[in-house]
């Protein structure tokens, strides 16, 4: 998991690799909006399956599937457990009691700690949302050349500094993972036991002691990379030719995706209006039924 090459973008010849970065970015943005608009678990699950299917098409390696699984399971577990316990909307159905209100001190102080079914469901929906974005984010960074990504950002008029910062962070994320493992090893070799004391100030000091070497090294690397890129004619004042033509087919696909997102947005608005009794068309009942299930 700490191996650098697992996190870095690798070249390939799959459809996903061959897609223009701008298409992938539009896809990512469209999915992000759709996951926010939609509340239906089955639609979100469908989107989640599509995300996994895209990883299959992109031929993600076994190690990458493992990383994806770890992150998704962790986010699902965290989200479902926290929502199951702390859900405060009504109605809510108690599934289990962790601390009874009759337990002295803790029970009376908290009013009881329960597991709520609705909270768990809500947590699952949130987890699906984050997993979709996580999966697509990983897919984009694993299949996209940082150089092309930088070009895409700049062709969309993103400020040079911001674009370069974004790419540098993406470029060095794998390195940071790898170097964190080395620093932890070095600390173990020197007899350092970071969790020996759980006092807050000790934990903060430990965090700084782990971060210092990684930050110092990353800053040096980033400075070298910036100099190297500038020495190869890349900079804010350079007006380069746009050699990377965005294929018409992909442009059309993006247009359709954005159009679909807009359509979904309108449908969601109509659904909310009918739900709140603002606008209702009886002839659209079948549409409302579909929206109830899928949105």
């Amino acid at each position: 998991m700490f191996a650098r090459n697992v996190w870095e973008a690798t070249p390939g010849y799959t459809i996903i690799h061959n897609l223009d970065i701008r298409t992938k970015l539009v896809m990512l943005i469209s999915f992000a909006i759709v996951t926010l608009i939609i509340d239906s678990p089955r639609s979100l699950f469908l989107l989640f399956c599509i995300t996994l299917f895209l990883h299959i098409i992109g031929q993600s390696s076994w190690e990458r599937w493992r990383i994806l699984a770890i992150f998704i399971l962790l986010s699902m577990w965290g989200s479902m457990v926290s929502q199951a316990i702390f859900y405060n909307q009504e109605p809510r159905t108690i599934m289990a009691c962790l601390i009874s209100p009759t337990v002295p001190i803790l029970g009376k102080w908290t009013g009881g700690v329960f597991i709520y079914r609705e909270g768990m469901e809500y947590g699952a929906i949130q987890a699906l949302r984050s997993s979709i974005m996580l999966g697509l984010g990983f897919l984009l960074s694993w299949t996209s050349d940082p150089r092309q990504l930088l070009r895409s950002f700049l062709s969309w008029k993103m400020p040079y500094e911001l674009a370069f910062m974004l790419i540098t962070s993406l470029r060095f994320l794998p390195v940071i993972f790898q170097e964190t493992a080395i620093v932890l090893t070095a600390q173990r070799l020197r007899g350092f036991q970071p969790l020996q004391s759980m006092l807050p100030h000790r934990l903060i000091q430990t965090a700084f002691q782990t971060l210092f070497p990684i930050l110092a090294r990353t800053l040096r690397r980033a400075a070298t990379l910036a100099s190297s890129v500038e020495c190869r004619g890349f900079g804010r004042e350079v007006h380069r030719l746009n050699n990377c033509v965005w294929p018409i087919g992909e442009k059309f696909l993006c247009f359709m995706m954005l159009l679909s997102v807009a359509g979904l947005f309108i449908l969601k608005a109509l659904d909310m209006m009918q739900f709140n009794g603002i606008i209702y068309f009886s002839t659209w009942r079948s549409l409302y039924d579909v929206m109830k299930i899928w949105m």
């Binding site: 870095e8 150089r147 090294r217 040096r220 500038e230 190869r232 004619g233 890349f234 900079g235």
Partner: protein, 569 residues
């Protein structure tokens, strides 16, 4: 003929510094020249290079007076992007400068920035990759390349623009001998074939000097010596004064009072033969140190050690049998991927064997042991305290065994030249100083065994000698040292025992003399024999591996006594 690089009265002071980093620099470099720029760490070499492509002052800021001209163009009047078409720059670490995912994309990057059409780019990329011998890896992932290939790719990525001047900042310092040879051959080829001016900053003079035509030595921000390579060979004292490393061939000739204008072994041998009539070596005529060390108590014992990272993965270590006695100074050598670091990790207890066992002081290793200290290749990862003093006393304080200001720590600071830096932030020190802090931090705990993973990488000979002296003292007190290195000259000079690994196995084990004379072993491990050995073989069919041994032998045989012993300046 107008020089392609003209530097006039340049003084440069970095932002937030009171003293100039470069002062009164005047230098002319002709078209097609191959210039070696050298000097001790921190003397301003890299700053001077950055001035040639405009990184100074355009990017780094600071105060610059004087003028730098490239082909007559003043660098202050042009942007870095414009200058990139005239001056290509390659940095020290290939991993830090590569930006793309494939070899083709990396080389195409500069051409795209120049606004060249797509079809012309492909053509130029192919041509450039042929020049650096990487055409076969056109579509390869950059992650699949070796260190040497990555550095050649870095050269190709600026070479594609066909700059007039190519500047390289310590490009071979992090490469193994094979990678360094590959890169230097490419530089020699493009210098001759394209007539490109090359300016290279490097500490490994013994490898670069045979290629260059001019040498420039810097010290404390000034140029203290400049001349042709032949002139440099004739006055090796200047290198000693500035703590620089000269080729062993020149060093031997200098010690024997022979003048030679080349670093080639055959030239040195001819020059020596003109002055000395040497008999062919008899068996046992040469004396080698370190042969009487076999009867000591074993500090490390390794039996049938096998290791692989994954169940059905490639075998990293295969059937390793080893016994290292207490107090021995061992050099572990081999090409990248031979298994050296993995073996060190096994000894330190960071990794567990798949088969066999490692014993330290007779006890089986089952995890990290406090009596084994390890210095990683990159010292930065080992420094996590606010001051040098805290860093050195860290483990001691952590173990509550000794106070931070103990006598031992103070001695270590002094011996490693870190006195006066006790309050400095370790990560803000120079690379050499950071390494010495990491070594001091490990030695402060007085472990039984110290493992060092390539401590000589990127260090000048002065720093290497400082470190080795401290480690030698430590072994004299009963400590055991194993260090990985690619540097056969350093290993031959300092190590009592050399272990050579190849593909996870030990292929040679013995003194420098016995190991380095096995050509097939060196070839398999991608190592170069020390030049001293080549001279000894040519000169008297001997097996001496250090400058001292060759000089002593020649003097003894020709002068009749060893009275005038070699004196390493």
């Amino acid at each position: 003929m107008n020089p392609i690089v003209r530097i006039r009265n340049v003084v440069f002071t970095y932002k937030n510094r009171s003293l100039p980093t470069l002062s009164h620099i005047n230098l002319d470099i002709e078209q097609g020249d191959f210039v070696l720029l050298t000097g001790a760490t921190g003397c301003g070499k890299s700053s001077l290079l950055k001035m040639l492509n405009g990184l100074i002052p355009h990017e780094n800021g600071g105060l610059l007076t004087g003028e730098v001209f490239i082909e007559g163009y003043n660098t202050q009047d042009y942007s870095i992007a414009q200058l990139s078409q005239m001056v290509g720059m390659v940095f020290q670490s290939p991993d830090d400068q590569i930006f793309s995912t494939t070899v083709f994309d990396e080389v195409a990057f500069i051409l795209e920035n120049m606004g060249i059409q797509l079809e012309d780019i492909a053509c130029r990329v192919h041509e450039t990759l042929r020049l650096v011998g990487m055409f076969d890896q056109l579509d390869a992932s950059v992650h699949a390349l070796s260190g040497g290939q990555k550095q050649r790719l870095a050269v190709a990525s600026v070479l594609a623009a066909r700059p007039k001047v190519l500047v390289l900042d310590e490009p071979i310092s992090q490469l193994d001998p094979q990678g360094a040879t590959e890169l230097l051959s490419v530089l020699e080829y493009i210098n001759k074939k394209l007539g490109m001016t090359i300016i290279i900053v490097e500490h490994r003079l013994h490898e670069v000097m045979p290629l260059c035509r001019r040498v420039v030595i810097m010290d404390k921000g000034q140029i203290v010596w400049a001349g042709t390579r032949d002139e440099a060979f004739c006055c090796p004292e200047i290198f000693d004064i500035h703590g620089l490393r000269i080729p062993q061939t020149i060093d031997i000739c200098r010690c024997l009072g022979v003048t030679v204008r080349s670093a080639e072994v055959k030239d040195a041998v001819l020059a020596i033969q003109r002055q000395y009539k040497l008999p062919i070596s008899e068996v046992g005529a040469e004396s080698f140190p370190g042969e009487s060390l076999v009867d000591r108590t074993p500090a490390i014992e390794i039996d049938q050690l096998e290791f692989q990272y994954e169940n059905k993965g490639r075998s990293i270590l295969q059937d390793i049998h080893l016994a290292i006695p207490t107090g021995q100074f061992v050099a572990l050598m081999g090409n990248n991927g031979a298994g050296k670091s993995t073996l060190l990790h096994q000894i330190s207890g960071l990794l567990k064997p798949v088969k066999g066992q490692v014993r330290i002081g007779g006890e089986q290793v089952n995890g990290i042991r406090p009596n084994v200290g390890m210095v990683l290749q990159n010292p930065d990862f080992m420094l996590f305290n606010d001051t040098v003093a805290e860093e050195i006393a860290f483990t001691l304080r952590f173990k509550k065994t000794e106070d931070a200001s103990s006598q031992h720590c103070q001695e270590l600071l002094k011996k490693l030249g870190l006195e006066g830096m006790e309050s400095d932030f370790p990560l803000a020190l120079s690379r050499g100083q950071r390494l010495r802090v990491a070594i001091a931090a490990v030695l402060a705990c007085q472990p039984l065994i110290v493992l060092l993973d390539e401590p000589t990488t990127g260090q000048d000979i002065g720093h290497i000698e400082d470190i080795i002296l401290v480690l030698k003292e430590y072994t004299a007190r009963g400590g055991t040292v194993i260090f990985c290195t690619h540097d056969t000259e350093v290993a031959a000079r300092f190590a009592e025992r050399i272990i050579i690994m190849c593909n996870g196995s030990i292929i040679a084990d013995g003194t420098a003399g016995t190991v380095f004379r096995q050509k097939s072993v060196l070839d398999a491990a991608g190592l170069k024999p020390p030049a001293a050995l080549l001279i000894a073989q040519e000169l008297y069919q001997g097996e001496s591996v250090t400058v001292k041994e060759v000089v002593d032998y020649v003097r003894q045989k020709c002068v009749g006594s060893n009275a005038g012993v070699y004196d390493n300046p």
